[in-house]
């Protein structure tokens, strides 16, 4: 999201510069001086945009990190499902926004609850990790930066039976 925002700001400033240049050409017949003025305005706008982008970058990186910290690194799933929940998608968007600003590699660890056989759960955990990976790749994160591994039901967060425990264990952890 950050790149789009910066590009948008640059476009707005450039548009303003061109508009100013067009206005000045109306008040004088000298095309050359009008062109010079337009170029100067454009250059001024550009450096202003770059400064804005840099400040914006530093600020938004902090903001993005805060956003990632707020959503956490665990995305939860429904029983026997590998479909991303809407809130997991939102949380993932925060991570994707931050990953766009760096070249870090991530590891996605897929987990399940204890119901069902261990090997089937290994496959289900892999499906969940792959769902998260595919969403990240579609959102522009290069696939070579993403490693997936399934732990099936082998590493629960919450021991014991019941949905309260199971729901905590059906997850993908981003590390």
């Amino acid at each position: 999201m950050k790149q789009l925002t910066v590009a948008g700001k640059v476009m707005t400033l450039l548009f303003a510069a061109v508009f100013l240049a067009a206005c000045s050409s109306k008040s004088t017949k000298d095309d050359t001086s009008a062109a010079d003025a337009a170029a100067a305005a454009e250059a001024a706008a550009r450096s202003a945009a770059e400064r804005a982008a840099m400040e914006d970058g530093a600020m938004s990186e902090r903001r993005l990190q805060d956003a990632v910290a707020a959503v956490g690194n665990i995305f939860y799933f429904d029983y026997d499902s590998s479909t991303l929940r809407p809130q997991a998608q939102e949380a993932l968007d925060a991570h994707i926004a931050l990953l766009r600003t760096n070249d870090r590699s991530v590891r996605l660890e897929g987990h399940t609850d204890e119901r069902g056989t261990r090997e089937y759960n290994m496959a289900l955990g892999e499906r969940r990790a792959n769902t998260v990976r595919d969403y990240m790749v579609v959102s522009g994160i290069a696939s070579f930066r993403i490693e997936t591994v399934s732990y099936g039901e082998e590493q629960p967060i919450a021991y014991g039976a019941g949905e309260a425990n199971y729901s905590q264990n059906r997850r993908v952890e981003l590390k």
């Binding site: 056989t117 089937y120 399934s150 732990y151 590493q155």
Partner: protein, 433 residues
């Protein structure tokens, strides 16, 4: 004698240090309605010092655990004969005993022992079995299990499976860090546990080579799952796979030359077979569904596996010659992780009914399905080599324990660990001597 004592002390030290945590305890929960009354008389020790093992007690426990026998308590015995001349049938009729097993054990050579045994039929007043077992004193328990096998076969007509071994995975939870995973080898009664592998990362899917000399398992020790093969005698091991994605569920072919496994290196879990001599891989299934949990039919001609290609997990059979796949299970919406008895007929699996996961048996001739267990979260069934019992993992509270049920559902026992969780039992084939 001095030498023997040294050996015994060394044995005791070895036993004490092989992780008491992984040791199993046996609790019989359900036996047959009319078990055979048998007296296993304490065996006479004919050498100096004390016997290295209470051989009769090991046999007694084996027979009791089968659920088919009701051993007479030692306190109820009116006599303790150790030779045929000392057996008086009236002593045993008086306490309603049907069979009497007696024996004598002694040291032969420096570390060898010999156990002689005789089995008497009280009603027919006749000796029905006699024999002896010889071996290393450290293997006294295994010699006892072999005698139990002989007695069991004589009285039931079915070969015994006491002189076999178990593999299982145990986990000790660590609240402040990573858990401890252990792969343990033990006798069929849970005694003499030996930790084969210890790791802070998961260990899964232990399985046996058909000759019982090698094992295979999955270990995450490299932070990713990989299949390893390990020789039991030397401990030497080889990493067989290191593919991207799943590397799971190794299953040896009946001839020992190939291994079926699950790989998802091409994006999706499919069944593959590796030639163990050339390491060449053959892909059997190509389906966007989950294909997993392969196991070989005893004739080696087809492979059973779990697939959710029909929407829910069911058991399918892949014919290795024709390449055809057919569905095997139809009853219920969840049937997974099949294991087949040596007769090629009794198929056991995890079956969901009423929201719970039980162990069920499907007769492949009649296709009749019978649910064997009444507990929930039952999984990882493994059949004894004589086809009599099914060992599986289940839950007791929030702890994983092992349990066993006879293939007719009539006999049940539990094998909780003294500490920690136990899971994924793998019953060995018959061990070559």
């Amino acid at each position: 004698m001095k030498h023997l004592t040294a050996v015994l002390v060394a044995t005791l030290i070895a036993l004490a240090t092989t992780s008491a945590r992984a040791e199993l305890v046996i609790e019989i929960t359900q036996g047959m309605d009319n078990p055979t009354a048998i007296a296993v008389v304490p065996f006479a020790w004919q050498s100096g010092g004390t016997a290295p093992e209470d051989v009769a007690q090991v046999i007694d426990n084996d027979l009791a655990r089968s659920g088919q026998f009701d051993p007479i308590g030692r306190g109820d015995m009116l006599a303790r004969p150790s030779t045929q001349q000392e057996v008086f049938y009236r002593d045993w009729r008086a306490i309603n005993t049907e069979y009497v097993l007696i024996g004598r054990a002694s040291v032969t050579g420096q570390v060898q022992m010999r156990i002689e045994y005789e089995l008497f039929d009280v009603n027919r007043q006749a000796r029905v079995l006699s024999g002896y077992e010889e071996g290393h004193v450290n293997d006294a328990r295994m010699l006892a299990h072999r005698i139990a096998d002989e007695v069991y076969e004589t009285l039931t007509g079915i070969p015994g499976a006491f002189a076999t071994r178990l593999l299982y995975v145990s986990v000790t939870r660590n609240p402040v860090g990573k858990d401890f995973y252990r792969l343990t080898l033990a006798d069929s009664d849970g005694a003499r546990p030996i930790v084969l592998l210890e790791s802070r990362e998961p260990i899964m899917a232990p399985s046996w080579s058909p000759d019982g000399k090698h094992i295979a398992y999955v270990s995450f020790e490299t932070s990713r799952p990989a299949i390893y093969r390990q020789e039991l005698a030397s401990g030497a091991r080889v990493q067989l796979t290191n593919f991207r994605g799943l590397n799971g569920a190794p299953a040896w072919s009946p001839d020992g030359n190939s291994m079926a496994m699950v790989l998802s290196k091409d994006g999706n879990p499919d069944i593959y077979v590796m030639d163990l001599r050339t390491r060449e891989l053959t892909q059997l299934t190509r389906h966007y569904a989950i294909d997993t949990e392969p196991t070989w039919m005893p004739d080696g001609r087809s492979i059973l596996f779990t697939s959710d290609r029909g929407g829910r997990p069911q058991i399918y059979r892949y014919d290795l010659r024709s390449g055809a796949t057919e569905r095997v299970t139809y009853e219920g919406s969840y049937n997974a992780r099949a294991r087949i008895a040596q007769d090629g007929r009794n198929l056991v699996m995890v079956h969901q009914a009423g929201g719970q996961f039980h162990i069920a048996l499907q007769d492949l001739v009649t296709n009749r399905l019978q649910i064997l267990t009444g507990t929930d979260l039952d999984e990882s069934p493994s059949i004894a080599p004589n086809g009599s019992m099914v060992l599986y993992g289940t839950k007791s509270g929030d702890r994983g324990i092992l349990a066993a049920v006879s293939v007719d559902g009539g006999v049940k026992f539990r094998l909780p660990a003294r500490e920690g969780d136990v899971r994924e039992p793998a019953w060995s084939p018959y061990m070559s001597r």
